[in-house]
């Protein structure tokens, strides 16, 4: 207890004398930023997850071609899951002597469980949001049905045998995906009216969904319970399976959040390491004194550890509080961009910020503290007795393990953790070596330089260890900032590239061979751009090297899903845009018995070049060898294919064509014209999907931008703090030099040169290291190719030099106006 009191008293004195300012500041910055980012990430993830759930109109959906068994509903009720269902089928509507194939969707009362329907009665541009579908005996329809069937709001529409009153026009349906039913104009009716339509006959093709919301644990349990009971036509969808495109954007964003957190923690850790180092140096004498006064080593450690715990605890607490405010402010700033309902932060995230603070403190402050233990009381007599670096491996091992733990926690990815740590270690040692060589080789040539340069460079080369550790610190900080910056840029560019302004928003499938040219003409007549027309033959993969596929593929894999149904097979003389051959060769002649397979599917099916695949097409079988493996950019809204054949291979089979095109807003009526001219052609409207996707990406973009600013701000602040923590010696030295008659301009020049060179070297190294890390990171984490950024090459060393130089200059400047006497007196 008395030790606690003593620790508190020592702490108070240190605090009063300003000894702790930098340390506390660094810690508060660290905790503030990691709390803010953790909270922000948590809430953003929840919010985004919720929004993705909107696209399913639920948290989880079972999609089935047979009706959902009663026992499933019961189980869901037991687990307190809220439920709704939809039943979708095609039906021909006939009114006013016009015919139209429509997609009927019968929904229960709670539909949609997530998200909103948007409907209007007249003004389509200003729809109302509702959380409910049509009442009984009402029909809500898509606007284009009115013109196609010459109807008006209030008229009666017969669905099967049931007359319904048209009450509203649907402009937005949350779960209208890119599946087969969404291409037909929608008629939404109440589930209660379904039976009386008498449309549903045994054998009708019907698509059922059961939708659920509830708490996560129960959903997971439900999913586990239901999975073994699924038949091949039934699927469970949650946000990640259902929207692979959105899923990948989301998970990339999540990873970016994680990366930002690591980066901030790393930056903060460095600041703390530098600050404690300074703290340690300043306490060598005090420690020696304590030892002289009879304090045992272990007691000294306990005393300092206690001080640090108290200090860390209170700084972390304050940081948590500030972090909470920062994060709240961020959401306020982003208010217009984010969905109206934002998930609230979990208190766990707050706790996490606090824990991070303590972990960083222990990890980074321990090494210098342990050094204090080794201070000899003799130091009071001889100042050259600096404590020996106590087994460096142990100490830096400790700091490294702490970083490793944090990285692991944030990424949940062991390989990534090792990549980061290993890369970091490797880079650090290379770096230290390079700097050492630089210093050694250049120090001889200083003699010829003018005095400012000579002094600046000499002071760097006199203490190689110090210089290296400072460069290391600046480099890591810069690397962190570069990473955050370029990952964000490339992420955003990538998203933008995926969704150009005129990304195709409609697909047309089932275009018969003789309709192809007229169809194309009609599009061109309206100046509508279309992608190329792909021939499509429906077929099924049945055998791999003579063995039945069913026996090979594992359940629930890409391979399984691809082989349980008919696939669209296409042929082409050249690889389509966005496809890259990653193994093997594209065929030279058009009549080889070969096929090109998509990379992910090839992986899932465990096939490679030369393997023989057997397809059934119609009643025939065809065996071909794999000649190449392609990577496909699934994120583009262009048609993509698992299998591509040489043209002659499919010529013998019936073919239809497929294309995608961009229909500008306001040209929707053209769809009716298309359907009229080509009744057999199926049109798929992915506009809604596309818009949802764009909206989410723009929100993510904004969020990521703010995170970047946050990380950069933290980086700059910490860089300043780091510079400040190295100023002590310099301030004293420059006061002495001024006493001996050096002009202020010379001192400033020396400082500027010293820091600029430090910053420039750090910038160069940071550049090399970040390019290395980026190329690793992109491959493993984001699945994107990394390209060298020339601007970065130019800017980084410059920015490093400029910024560190400026920080040092500003740092030293404020003592420059004090008379040298006052500085010398403080010793």
């Amino acid at each position: 207890m008395s030790e606690l009191k003593l620790a508190l008293r020592l702490l108070y004195r240190d605090g009063r004398s300003g000894e702790l300012t930098i340390l506390v500041l660094a810690l508060i910055i660290a905790v503030t930023s990691s709390t803010a980012i953790a909270l922000f990430a948590d809430r953003l993830q929840q919010t985004m997850g919720r929004q993705a759930a909107d696209f399913l109109a639920a948290d989880m959906v079972i999609s089935s071609s047979s009706s959902i068994p009663e026992s499933w509903w019961k189980k869901a009720s037991e687990l307190q899951l809220k439920q709704s269902s939809t039943t979708e089928f095609s039906s021909v509507l006939m009114e006013n002597e016009s015919l139209l194939l429509a997609g009927i969707k019968a929904v229960t009362d709670h539909y949609p469980l997530r998200g909103h329907l948007k409907t209007a009665t007249s003004d389509l541009s200003n729809p109302e949001q509702t959380k409910k579908g049509p009442a009984t005996l009402e029909a809500w329809i898509e606007p284009r049905i009115l013109s196609a069937l010459k109807l008006q709001i209030g008229d009666t529409l017969r669905v099967g045998e049931q007359p319904l009153k048209i009450t509203r026009l649907i402009t937005y349906e949350p779960d209208k995906g890119g599946d087969l039913y969404s291409l037909q104009p929608r008629v939404m009716i109440n589930h209660a009216d379904l039976e009386s339509t008498h449309v549903i006959q045994p054998g009708s093709h019907i698509h059922y969904t059961a939708q659920f919301v509830g708490n996560e644990r129960n959903l997971v349990e439900f999913k586990r319970w239901i999975k073994p009971k699924l038949n091949p036509s039934q699927r469970i969808l949650d946000i990640y399976d259902e929207r692979p495109r959105l899923g990948s954007a989301l998970s990339r964003a999540e990873r970016y959040l994680g990366l930002s957190s690591i980066i901030v923690v790393l930056i903060a850790g460095i600041a703390i390491a530098m600050a404690t180092r300074r703290y340690g140096e300043r306490h060598f004498n005090a420690t020696a004194l304590l030892r002289c006064l009879g304090c045992k080593q272990s007691k000294i450690i306990r005393l300092y550890a206690l001080q640090f715990l108290i200090l860390g605890g209170s700084a972390s607490l304050l940081g948590c509080l500030l972090g909470w405010f920062a994060q709240e402010g961020l959401f306020q700033l982003l208010r217009d961009l984010l969905p109206t309902s934002i998930a609230s932060a979990s208190p766990f995230s707050l706790l996490f910020g606090f824990a991070t603070g303590m972990v960083i403190l222990v990890g980074f402050a321990m090494p210098p503290l342990l050094q204090l233990k080794r201070v000899s009381p003799l130091r009071l007599l001889r100042h050259d007795l600096d404590p020996l670096p106590s087994s460096g491996w142990l100490i830096y091992g400790l700091a490294l393990s702490v970083i490793g733990l944090l990285v692991w926690y944030y990424t949940d990815d062991l390989r990534m953790t090792f990549t980061v740590i290993g890369g970091g270690l490797f880079a650090a040692s290379i770096m230290a070596g390079i700097v050492w060589l630089l210093i050694k080789s250049s120090s001889k040539s200083f003699g010829r330089l003018d005095i400012g340069w000579r002094f600046g460079l000499q002071s760097l080369s006199r203490h190689p260890a110090k210089t290296i550790s400072q460069i290391l610190a600046f480099t890591v900080t810069l690397v962190a900032m570069i990473l955050s910056f370029s990952v964000r840029n490339d992420l955003l560019d990538d998203w933008k590239a995926q969704l150009p302004e005129s990304a195709p928003n409609h697909f047309a499938i089932n275009i018969f061979a003789n309709d192809r040219t007229p169809f194309q003409k009609l599009l061109e007549g309206q100046q509508i751009q279309s992608s190329r027309f792909f021939p499509v033959t429906r077929g099924r993969l049945v055998e791999i090297n003579g063995i039945k596929v069913r026996k090979i593929v594992s359940k629930e894999s890409t391979g399984a899903r691809a082989t349980q149904r008919q696939l669209s097979l296409t042929s082409s003389t050249t690889p389509p845009d966005g496809n890259q051959i990653i193994e093997g060769n594209w065929w030279k002649s058009d009549n080889e018995a070969v096929v090109s397979i998509e990379q992910k599917l090839a992986q899932s099916l465990k096939v490679s070049i030369g393997d023989k695949l057997t397809f059934t097409i119609g009643s025939e079988q065809m065996q071909v060898a794999i000649s190449n493996i392609r990577s496909v950019n699934w994120d583009t809204m262009k048609p993509n294919f698992y299998f591509i054949f040489p043209p002659s291979a499919l010529d013998a089979f019936p073919q239809t064509y497929l294309t995608s095109f961009y229909l500008p807003p306001g040209k929707k009526d053209f769809l009716n014209k298309l359907i009229e001219h080509f009744p057999a052609v199926t049109l798929l409207d992915v506009e809604t999907l596309l818009n949802q996707f764009k909206m989410i990406l723009s929100q993510l973009t904004a969020a990521i931008n703010y995170l970047l600013y946050f990380a950069l701000a933290a980086g700059f602040t910490v860089l300043f703090a780091a510079v400040y923590s190295t100023l002590d010696d310099r301030i004293h030295n420059s006061a002495l030099m001024r006493t001996l008659g050096a002009k202020r301009s010379l001192i400033k020049k020396v400082q500027l040169i010293e820091f600029t060179v430090l910053g420039f070297i750090s910038g160069l190294l940071a550049l090399a290291i970040s390019e290395l890390i980026l190329s690793l990171l992109y491959n493993q984490l984001f699945g994107m190719a990394h390209q060298l950024n020339l601007l970065l090459w130019f800017l980084t060393p410059l920015a490093g030099g400029l910024f560190v130089g400026l920080a040092g200059y500003v740092g030293i400047r404020h003592v420059m106006d004090l008379p040298p006497a006052s500085i010398l007196r403080n010793l």
Binding site: T739, G741, L746, P819
Partner: protein, 233 residues
């Protein structure tokens, strides 16, 4: 070579009139020096004495252009310091003033030789190394030139400081308790060296000390008490 042209004339080399210094602290303004008048002629040796806290170092730093007075004025070599800005004063210090401190104040990263060269380098002297080497030999450290201050004892460090102070051949040398951190024997050696060099170079010497015998070596002594001169001889 950098000594002042006025060195041989009989005009006062240091002239302080009504010198005062106040500092503001958390407990209000503190007057640490008030109405000090002082005239020092070329080649004079002056000892400033007084109890600890009486303002000796403060007076020294004002006379040596290390700090600015709150009231009054100081002229060095007939040049009023108030007319100079900090850089002007720095130049003056570099050319015409030498310093010796109680705590040596050598730059820790520099070798003995480099420390001595420093003032010459600051004014762009090309022969800094030779001049510094010569002076180090003069103070008896020719074999320690490449050692850093940490590798030197206190007495050795103070000898390096003496070499540094005399290397520019300054008109005035200020010494703040030059023997305060040394044992009496080493202290005596330093004092001896100091006065020898002083005679050789014809330097004006202003010395702060608690040591009566040391003060007795000077031609004049003033005594401070609570920031005012109580006795002059």
């Amino acid at each position: 070579m950098h000594s002042s042209p006025d060195k041989q004339s009989n005009a006062p080399i240091i002239e302080a009139i009504n010198l005062g210094k106040k500092v503001s602290t958390s407990e209000g303004t503190l007057e640490i020096l008030s109405s000090v008048d002082l005239i020092i002629n070329p080649a004079d040796t002056l000892a400033i004495m007084g109890t600890s806290g009486s303002g000796k170092s403060t007076l020294l730093s004002l006379l040596a252009a290390l700090d600015e007075p709150t009231t009054g004025s100081v002229s060095l070599f007939g040049q009023p310091l108030a007319q100079l800005d900090e850089d002007g004063r720095a130049e003056l210090r570099n050319q015409s003033i030498g310093f010796v401190f109680q705590s040596f104040q050598l730059l820790p990263g520099l070798t003995a030789l480099e420390n001595v060269m420093l003032p010459l380098e600051l004014c762009g002297d090309k022969n800094a190394a030779d001049a510094a080497q010569a002076l180090l030999e003069r103070v008896g450290l020719s074999n320690r030139t490449h050692h850093t201050p940490r590798q030197l004892s206190g007495g050795e460090q103070q000898r390096v400081a003496l070499a540094r102070a005399f290397v520019t051949e300054p008109g005035i040398l200020f010494a703040d308790e030059p023997t305060g951190n040394l044992d009496s024997k080493t202290g005596e050696q330093i004092v001896e060296l100091l006065f020898e060099l002083n005679r050789e170079k014809q330097t004006t010497l202003v010395l702060v000390t608690h040591d009566e015998p040391l003060a007795a070596l000077c031609q004049r002594t003033i005594r401070l008490e609570a920031g005012t001169v109580v006795c002059q001889s």
